[in-house]
Amino acid sequence: MGLFAIIVLVIFNFAFDLRVDTTAAVAPGALWVAFVFASILGLGRTIAAEREKGSLDRLLLCPVDRKAIYLAKLLGNMLFIGVVELVALPIFAILFNLSLQAGPLLLIVLLGTLGIAAVGTLFSAMAAATQARELLLPILIFPLIVPVVIGSVRATSDLIAPIANEPPWLGLIAAFDVIFLSISMLTFEFVVEE
């Protein structure tokens, strides 16, 4: 995952003309493309291994609320993706020659990652029951996370080069996170039980 994110950033770094006036437009997109694709790699394995070995049933057999299992899986995914992001962010700053405010950027990354992981954890459970999960997972996830990714890209752009009259992207991402998280927690039970 981490290697993949770094490779994407390096390729974008060489592929685009990164003069000062274009960096702010290009860099956030490159960053979030790297994060999204790296996340998909990890999300695909969230439940697949447990389904293959039958230990998912064992978890489901335990007298534990399905929401707790979902939240545990989500937390695990957030940790893995978070580590990748923490590795990739300094490399991103160096490659694109940006000096970023760590606090606000980490908040954007955290909220964006939560949205991606919330949807990804739910759909990885769904895709794990199919044979073509590696193909199915991105098809299921990408359309749903578009609002979060757009919000994250624009919020990151705004951080690099502030734009006047921008919508409150951070609030938008947070709202989507709440919606995704609520729906995913409520539907996880039905997804894993059949």
Partner: protein, 266 residues
């Protein structure tokens, strides 16, 4: 709500289950009293495993009612799961964890008090105490089945659901299953198991129910068998027996549960 004395411990009424348009169970009615044992028989695809999965609250029924100790399996699934110990076709273990770690993990999931002591007792009970620190992934099929049995007994369930529990076990392993089931029954535990061996079903169970095409086609009531003792074991229930594949399985006296650790919920 729990079932009062005399009420069926397990009650299945009009149970149906379909996967998509394919019906798997087409109306099952069964009752089982506390302490009884029932064997489910039938060809592959008859619906035995699906029935066990519904009873274990792993799958929701499409129609019908299932109650265990007065609790509705669909509505009170979380409480029902505390009552049930399930051994399925798959071991439901983590290969990367040791035998002890597997039991401790599930002990936490079931909030088992004194989980470490109970895990050690059960490992001893199934003859795996010398392999407690070995990864489950290195175990033979028979050892995995023994560990699965220990895992299913960890939270002292009232109802044991065993899907072909003898799979992969040697003769002594099969005897061990018998003894554990006897101890479970002696404590008031109820058991529902599947098997493809009529003789085994007759020797273990009070009822034999045969499924075919998702329906009950035959019910056979058998005389209650005598409780077996350690004398039935080829090794007389004592000492160590070495096997080609399970060389570290020890066979100590299996006739009594370790004092202070009942195999089912008191």
């Amino acid at each position: 709500m729990t079932a009062s004395a005399g009420d069926p411990y397990l009650n299945i009424a009009g149970l149906k289950k379909s996967f998509g348009l394919k019906p798997v169970l087409r109306g099952i009615d069964l009752t089982l009293l506390r302490g009884e044992r029932l064997a489910l028989m039938g060809a592959n695809g008859a619906g035995k495993t699906t029935l066990l999965r519904i009873l274990a609250a792993l799958t929701q029924p499409t129609a019908g009612n299932v109650t265990i100790d007065g609790l509705d399996v669909a509505r009170d699934a979380q409480q029902v799961r505390r009552l049930v110990g399930f051994v399925g076709h798959q071991p439901y273990l983590y290969d990367e964890l040791t035998a002890l770690e597997n039991l401790l993990f599930f002990g936490k999931m079931y909030s088992v008090k004194d989980a470490r002591a109970r895990a050690f007792m059960l490992l001893q009970r199934v003859g795996l105490e010398k392999r407690a620190s070995d990864r489950a992934g290195t175990f033979s099929r028979g050892m995995v089945q023994r560990l699965s049995l220990a895992r299913a007994l960890l939270h002292a369930p009232n109802l044991l659901l065993l899907d072909e529990p003898d799979t992969g076990l040697d003769q002594e392993g099969v005897q061990l299953v018998t003894l554990i089931l006897d101890e479970h029954r002696a404590g008031g535990g109820t058991t529902l198991l599947t098997t493809h061996q009529p003789e085994r079903a007759r020797s273990l169970c009070d009822q034999i129910v045969t499924l075919s095409g998702g329906r009950i086609v035959h019910v056979d009531l058998t005389p209650t068998r005598e409780v077996s003792t350690c004398r039935d074991l080829p090794c007389g229930g004592q000492g160590q027996v070495h096997h080609e594949n399970d060389e570290h399985i020890s066979h100590t006296n299996h006739s009594h549960p370790v004092e202070g650790y009942p195999l089912r919920t008191p």
